[in-house]
Amino acid sequence: MNNKIRILITTLALSQLAACASLDTVKPWQRGTLAKKEMQLNSAGLDNALDDHIYFSKEGSSGGRSFAGGGCGCN
């Protein structure tokens, strides 16, 4: 199982890289949509915090999220 997981991780990571010819995908002046609050990784921040607490209390798993990246890319 561990080996399968390692393969999965590597595949996902590589597919992320392979999916685009270059990672420098969007020009700094084309980030209007990415700057919108609905496009932020934490756009459902409050809802997620409340839900995650419930699900963690009622299920056996937790966590996984983080919020760096995306957005308007300013400064």
């Binding site: 995908t25 997620n48 915090a49 995650d52 699900y55 056996g60 760096a68 995306g70």
Partner: protein, 438 residues
Amino acid sequence: MQLSKTGSISAALAAATCTLLSANAIAADSNTNSQASSLIEGWQFNSALLYYGETDRVKAAEAILSARGDFGDDKFLNLNLVLDSLTGASATGAVAQPGAQTFTRPSGAGSYTTAAGATPLDDTFRDTRVQLDASWEQPLTSNYRGTVGGHFSKEYDYLSLGINGNISRDFNHKNTTLSVGTALSHDSINPEGGIPSAFTPMLFRSNFASEGAYQQAFDGSRRTDSDTKTTAELLFGVTQVLNPNWLMQLNYSIAKADGYLSDPFKVLSVVNSNGITQQNLYEQRPDSRTKQSLYWQNKWHLSGSYLDLSYRYMWDDWSLNSHTADARWRFPVAGNWYIEPHARYYTQDEAEFYQPFLSEGMPLPAFASADYRIGQMDAYTLGAKVGTVLDGGHDFAVRLEYYQQNPNNPGVELPGALKDLELFGDVKAVMLQVSYSF
């Protein structure tokens, strides 16, 4: 929030790991709402009230107030206050029986009864919890950004203290972001009635000649008054902008918890070959747990709508592997209104020491728990959120969700009377939330 008293420890773990970056997340919810007029110059506030209710079981109310202060040049202070209150009954892990049953309350004082055929639920638990989070984020040298934060959570018998930090670095004109985060927390539990020794039987006052004799036996069955747990977590993330309308994130995290990981209020029933309970023993879980997860999230802007799809695979050394798939799709409707349906699917394997009951005559295992929340189960959530932007740029939304858990028998043979009883009943809950930003 303890959605069952047994959740004390696990909930605190949740709270600690969730706040790895969630203090920022909660407060940042509407941070890009540029046109909103705010109560205090430079500060954005977000608030929500949540009601959670299971049919015939736990009911909880939670209130959150979060604030995000802009100190200029991308420096922010995030503050979070949570109050929650819990009442109602939760499953103890004991099995249903063809006849009525009596159980002793966790404190050792008093007892409660369960009707014939019903799942034993302990309704002793009423608790209120306060949580405070704070975090500071700012740019470090160019393209680097750092966050540092703290967490405090207190309820009657539980205290959780934590710190967290995160560094992220942008590449490719901020199209790619790598981040590393860490969280450490220390929890202490001091339950009423103390912490029972592993697999000691639940005692009944009626079996003792005097109050004194009973109290002595009860105290003798307690290992200690209080215990602690520490958790350390590391998270690595990659965020990539794929096109002007598509953002993707992939995270790997690893967490290690050490200390008291059992639930002092949960028991296992020892049943004979006819399925009749002979006694109930307090559970015992291992004193360490290492969890790892892979989390993948996509956000799309599709013709004015916003789709958020995520998947998490979690695996740990308790063999409790889980898959979580979550989808939210926000559609604009008339004027400033939107509707956002939400669906979530969750499935987990049972922990390797999970047993719905113990069999009389069999040797006791090193670890065992009948807590259905670490058993095999599927869970479904279906809901929707409706919201708008009011005059002055304030967000208002109402969210209604239906959550159902379907525990499963992981292939255990049910002896005698247990065959005809519902041991793996579904748990159904409703969540209603109102939120407002100002």
